[in-house]
């Protein structure tokens, strides 16, 4: 019997949390970074699919906090604490931030993956959340999911197969 598991999906420039048994996943991370936070005691897991490093370059009307590294992680912590997690217990794992295409001529876009990773890590550090594991960089896409029961982050990619963090 294949167990039908509860799955919460996180889209691009989106964030969500899971409080019931199941997994939370996001697909097709390229230069985007998937940030996952986990509270081992309440077993609340959260995930953000961050697209850009900084909201200071935003030109949109209403700011989508989930899109930017500097706003998404703070917003995710708020969501999780609101659901009963403790910010002092949170641990982080991140994946993504690759450079999908490598050639000159794309300007700043070229380095967006590494920049996303840098800012995510800085924000995690600033919030004093231990970064337990990461799988960042390279030039391949990733799909990631975190199991709410165990806090294990599973990473799938076309070129590198499956790995667990």
């Amino acid at each position: 019997m294949i167990e039908q598991r509860n799955m919460v999906k996180v889209g691009m420039a989106d964030l969500n949390i899971i409080t019931e048994p199941g997994i939370i996943r996001t697909t097709g991370l390229g230069s985007c970074v998937g940030v996952t936070l986990y509270d081992p005691l309440t077993r609340i897991a959260g995930m953000a699919h961050v697209m850009l490093p900084s909201s200071s370059i935003a030109r949109e009307g209403t700011l989508n906090k989930a899109k930017y590294a500097d706003t998404a992680i703070v917003a995710l912590v708020e969501r999780m604490v609101g659901a009963g997690a403790s910010s002092a217990r949170l641990v982080a794992k991140i994946a993504g931030g690759s450079q999908m295409f490598q050639f000159a001529g794309a300007g700043d876009t070229l380095r967006i993956g590494p920049r996303n990773t840098e800012v995510c890590k800085q924000m995690i550090q600033d919030l004093r959340i231990p970064l337990l594991a990461e799988d960042c960089g390279g030039n391949h896409g990733r799909t990631i999911e975190i199991d709410r029961d165990t806090g294990i982050l599973t990473i799938r990619s076309v070129q590198m197969g499956v790995k667990e963090l």
Binding site: V10, G11, M12, A13, D14, T27, G28, L29, G30, S31, C32, M51, L52, I57, A58, R59, E60, N64, K67, S98, M100, F101, Q102, F103, A104, G105, A106, T109, I112, N139, H140, G141, R142, T143, R156, S157, V158, Q159
Partner: protein, 205 residues
């Protein structure tokens, strides 16, 4: 600059026409390369929220062979030529019957060949647009990737993402007579380019 969610219907029609002209030329170029008839679908202009991008390109983790170009010039943007790995192998097989279609991994030479075919098609797409709009547009060196469609396409959305939560892309499908080679063109103009394109076509009063 108009927000992309405020475009009028006639502006959307103009963008479809842009797809029609560009992809029509590219399809003709492909037919010449293959020496076979190539049909193309009616271009669609898709407005897709970022969170739904993965679904819009064939769903979760669908693997595609993609050639990416940054479009430079007066109306900059991003351009993708995407195929399933099977279709890409079939395309290569047309040029070299020694290509194995059973294995879906690509040699360096095969990647390079697909990039070059993509280059020819993108060049014909853009040159027809340039003729039509009198705007200078030219593609950069192609980049090739065999990976998840969402991860690839998101790279082309970064310029759009500074201003919007949804992407607007001009999508055209084409297929060779026996349906073995199917592909898709995505043209994703930068936000500031829409105005330039509309103005060039006299659509702004």
């Amino acid at each position: 600059m108009a927000a992309i969610n405020q475009f009028q219907e006639f502006e959307m029609d103009i963008l479809k026409e842009i797809g029609n002209i560009g992809a029509g030329n590219a399809a003709t170029a492909l037919a010449t390369l293959l020496n076979k008839p190539v049909d193309m679908g009616v271009p669609t202009v898709k407005r897709v929220p970022f969170e739904a991008i993965a679904e819009s390109v064939g769903g979760d983790e669908s693997i595609v062979a993609a050639v990416y170009f940054r479009v430079e010039g007066e109306a900059p943007g991003n351009m993708f030529f995407m195929m399933t790995p099977e279709a890409a192998k079939q395309l290569l097989y047309h040029f070299n019957s020694e290509v194995s279609c059973e294995h879906l991994d690509f040699t360096e030479m095969e990647c390079s060949t697909i990039s070059e075919i993509g280059n020819i098609l993108a060049g014909s797409y853009l040159s027809s647009l340039a003729d039509f709009t009198h705007l200078k547009m030219f593609p950069t060196v192609p980049g090739f990737a065999l990976d998840m469609a969402g991860a690839i396409l998101s790279y082309g959305l970064l310029h759009m993402s500074h201003t919007a939560d949804e992407a607007l892309f001009i999508d055209t499908q084409f297929l060779e007579g026996q349906n073995q080679v199917q592909g898709q063109f995505f043209l994703i103009p930068d936000p500031d380019s829409f105005h330039v394109i509309f103005e060039a076509l006299g659509a702004l009063s």
